[in-house]
Every structure is written in C-alpha cells, then in structure tokens.
C-alpha cells in the first residue's frame, strides 16, 4: 500500500511501498503537485523502478517550472536503489 500525504506547505510525505501496482495512482496524485516541494521519505519502505519513474517525472516537471525539489529522510535501503540508478548524484537527496 502506498500513500501520499500533503503535510505542511511544500512538504509531501511518501509512505509505504511505491511499486508498479501503485505507480499509476501515484502519478495522478503527483501531477497535482506544483511549486517547491520537499518529499519526506521517512515512511517510504520500498521503491521499484516504476516508482522511481513516477518520482523522476514529477521532479523534471517541477524543476522545469523553476522550483526546487528535495528528498529527505530516505531509508538506507531505498536510497541504495536511487544510488544503483545513479540518481543520488542528480537528485537533491538529503
């Protein structure tokens, strides 16, 4: 199960498992996100390539509009997946 929760202004909490079965729903939810955003990943337990694709799509769109995107509090096992993909060097992961 995957959840996206809009928290304080500009902060979005990602929680659960962002896998291929959840990717389409996640993409629809993230399409409504504009402006600078911090993705709080403390509760993001798992991500696959499908989930990464959704986040990258949102990242590129928001950045193209001139806004910052940050990923914070990522679990090591999730961060390692971004590292395998070479994305830890291009995304703002704190």
């Amino acid at each position: 199960m995957f959840e996206i929760r809009m928290e304080s202004e500009g902060t979005i909490r990602l929680a659960g498992r962002l896998d291929a079965a959840e990717a389409e729903r996640a993409q629809k939810a993230l399409s409504a996100v504009h402006g600078p955003v911090t993705f709080d990943c403390e509760e993001l337990d798992y991500i696959s390539s499908a989930g990464i694709g959704v986040l990258i799509e949102a990242y590129k769109r928001i950045r193209a509009a001139g806004h910052e995107v940050r990923f914070v509090r990522m679990l090591p096992r999730v961060r390692s997946i971004f590292a395998y993909a070479g994305l830890d060097r291009v995304l703002n992961i704190e």
């Binding site: 896998d19 696959s48 390539s49 990258i56 997946i81 395998y84 993909a85 070479g86």
Partner: protein, 135 residues
C-alpha cells in the same frame, strides 16, 4: 523448489511479495533479505507482463534455497524468446534529460543479483536469478 503461479497482472505483486516472505520465513532466513528478493521479483515479473503480453494467463515463480544462495525462477509460457541478459545497459551517468525510458528495472536486478540466466525452449522463457545471502 516451491513454485506458485501468478496472474499476469501488476495486481499480483502483493501476492508475490507474500510468497517471497513466506519462503524466507519457512527457511529461517532473516526478513532483512526480503527487500532485495522482492525487488528482483517485481522487476522481472513486471518486465514479463509488459513485454510478453501474448503470453499465458499465469507466470510461474519458483524459489529454492541452498545455503548461502537463494534461487528465483520465473517461467513464462507461450511466448517468443527475449533474452533479458542481452538487454542494453543503462547509462546511469547520463543527465536526466538524456536518459532513455525503460531498462532501469533490469539494471537494478543486475546490481542486486549475483547471476542471471535465460533459457528458451518450447515457447517457454525461463529466467533464473541467484543471490548469495550474507548472514
């Protein structure tokens, strides 16, 4: 080896993850290994679902354990041959704007697994992945 069949649909992923965890638990293998095996299972299963749409209704997933290696097998029936071990590598050093869509899933499997084999016979594709589990 234990084997189970799963409907060719992304909605099968939860059942696949449960299958993996139950297997690990039955062999006293720590849950901390579940993440990598679930990821490998998902990436290969969804790859077959996406790219072998003409295949049979179910895909068979098998698991076996021979300390310290776990072996994961996926069998896809009634399909054309497509050797995933020959898939083009992903340039993880390329900037986002230049990266092509697709291929990341297999790239992740290559990073995590120790060995990936592909066989094709009688219109059945068999992908076999082994991973050494450190204690």
């Amino acid at each position: 080896m234990v084997e189970r069949r799963f409907r060719r649909d992304f909605a099968s992923l939860d059942a696949i993850f449960t299958f993996v965890r139950e297997f690990l638990d039955s062999h006293g293998i720590g849950e901390r290994h579940a993440h990598d095996l679930e990821l490998i299972s998902e990436e290969l299963f969804t790859n077959l679902v996406k790219y072998n749409r003409e295949g049979a209704a179910d895909i068979a997933i098998g698991l076996s354990w021979s300390r310290p290696e776990v072996t994961l097998t996926l069998r896809d029936f009634g399909v054309e041959s497509w050797d995933i071990t020959q898939a083009a590598p992903v340039d993880t050093g390329a900037p986002l704007e230049r990266r092509r869509a697709g291929g990341l899933g297999l790239h992740l499997v290559r990073q995590i697994a120790d060995r990936i084999d592909y066989q094709y016979q009688d219109r059945t594709s068999t992908i076999t992945v082994t991973k050494r589990l450190e204690p």
